[in-house]
């Protein structure tokens, strides 16, 4: 059985998305992955899900550097939304810039900061999964 039903990736890098999605499904991490290519798109779609009482993703993998609405801006808006059950959010980025890590700490997300690449190996060790 998958750990989560629905996971969400918010990232503008389609190569990364391809790999991450694959790894999530392969590790039986989730049954379904929804992908948004920037913060604004994600925000609009997640709001819509909420309004139509569709099940929100239980976990979100959020990139920082994105066009239109970046990861931080997404967080600013998303965390403000009224919701009974907030997804777990992980920041997944190639940035090891101390400024970004510091900023994650301000959002109390320092522990949820993953540096790319995401691999099957990394996922299994992070979430204690079995490779199938």
């Amino acid at each position: 059985m998958a750990r989560f039903d629905r996971a969400c990736i918010i990232d503008d890098d389609h190569i990364y998305v391809y790999g991450a999605k694959r790894a999530l499904l392969k590790t039986n991490f989730c049954n379904e992955v929804v992908v948004y290519s920037n913060g604004l798109e994600a925000l609009a779609q997640l709001k819509l899900m909420q309004e139509t009482h569709e099940k929100l993703p239980e976990i979100i993998f959020l990139d920082i550097n994105m066009p239109i609405l970046d990861g931080w801006q997404f967080l600013d808006e998303f965390l403000y939304l009224e919701s009974s059950k907030k997804p777990i959010i992980y920041i997944v980025t190639s940035s090891e810039n101390p400024v970004d890590i510091e900023k994650a700490d301000q959002y109390d997300m320092k522990k949820n900061y993953i540096v790319k690449p995401i691999s099957v190996k990394k996922l299994t060790s992070l979430f204690d999964l079995d490779e199938t």
């Binding site: 890098d13 190569i15 790999g19 694959r22 190639s94 940035s95 810039n97 690449p117 995401i118």
Partner: protein, 261 residues
């Protein structure tokens, strides 16, 4: 003021010091501070690019190779695949190293006396395949006894970058030619000249852009506008400089100055 016992002034004692030197020194150190702050800012900017842009591409490479190995195991049992993995691992490691180096915010990189000719020969050797493919005529006329005071990794990167640029921005009209020479005018610096017969750059239009970050002006998709920015910053961090002379359709000459040993 010295007075007699009746309070009448008899002597006037004064001391005048010329503080021009001190004032000039203060001004100089303030100017250096501003310069240093600018350099530091550029360094952080560079660090950010290294940590993000380079990393995201290299981690995608490594991820795709992982996937490939799982999906097509039979096709990985050859000479090339392990080397691809190795190259990808090295790339990630190199970026990590660079990252660490820049994050120390150290402006005190380790400068040492470097024998110039072997460095240039090494770089030329590493670009051998490309030079041969293009049938390029590359002449190294650097004298054997020239040494400069520099950071080894930087000098190599500078030479690679300028030579690669010369090859990349060659003219289709003629056989690519590059002459690398050195010049010691006893002024405390050694100049290295890279003279090519490539496309050339319109300096009246692009002179201020050429060493800036993410500025490109040739119709070349490969150009990312990072190379010469890094080159310039590396030169300046070693108290050297770089400048360019160029004519469109004739070629470019890059002059890099290093501290003389």
């Amino acid at each position: 003021m010295v007075t007699n016992k009746n309070g009448k002034p008899i002597h006037f004692v004064s001391q005048i010091n010329n503080i021009t030197k001190a004032k000039t020194a203060t001004k100089l150190s303030q100017e250096s501070l501003i310069k240093l702050e600018g350099q530091n800012k550029r360094l952080m900017n560079f660090a950010h690019i290294v940590s993000h842009n380079l990393r995201s591409h290299s981690s995608n490479f490594s991820m795709l190779l992982d996937i490939y190995k799982v999906d097509f195991p039979a096709q990985t049992e050859n000479e090339v695949f392990p080397m691809l993995v190795e190259a990808s691992d090295w790339l990630i490691e190199t970026i990590d190293h660079l990252n660490q180096v820049v994050q120390i915010k150290s402006t005190e990189e380790k400068m040492e006396s470097i024998h110039l000719l072997p460095v240039i020969k090494k770089v030329v050797h590493s670009l051998k395949a490309e030079i041969q493919n293009l049938n390029a005529d590359l002449k190294v006329q650097v004298k054997n006894n020239v040494s400069v005071f520099a950071v080894p990794a930087y000098i190599e990167s500078i030479v690679i970058n300028i030579i690669s640029n010369a090859l990349r921005y060659r003219s289709d009209q003629r056989i690519p030619q590059l002459i690398i020479s050195s010049n010691d005018d006893n002024s405390g610096t050694i100049k290295i000249l890279f003279e090519d017969n490539g496309l050339g750059i319109d300096l009246s239009k692009n002179g201020d852009k050429i060493f800036k970050l993410y500025k490109t002006f040739h119709q070349n998709a490969e150009a990312k506008g990072v190379g010469l920015y890094i080159t310039k910053n590396q030169c300046e961090s070693m108290n050297g400089s770089i400048r360019v002379m160029s004519k469109v359709g004739i070629g470019s000459t890059f002059v890099v100055s290093f501290l003389r040993v």
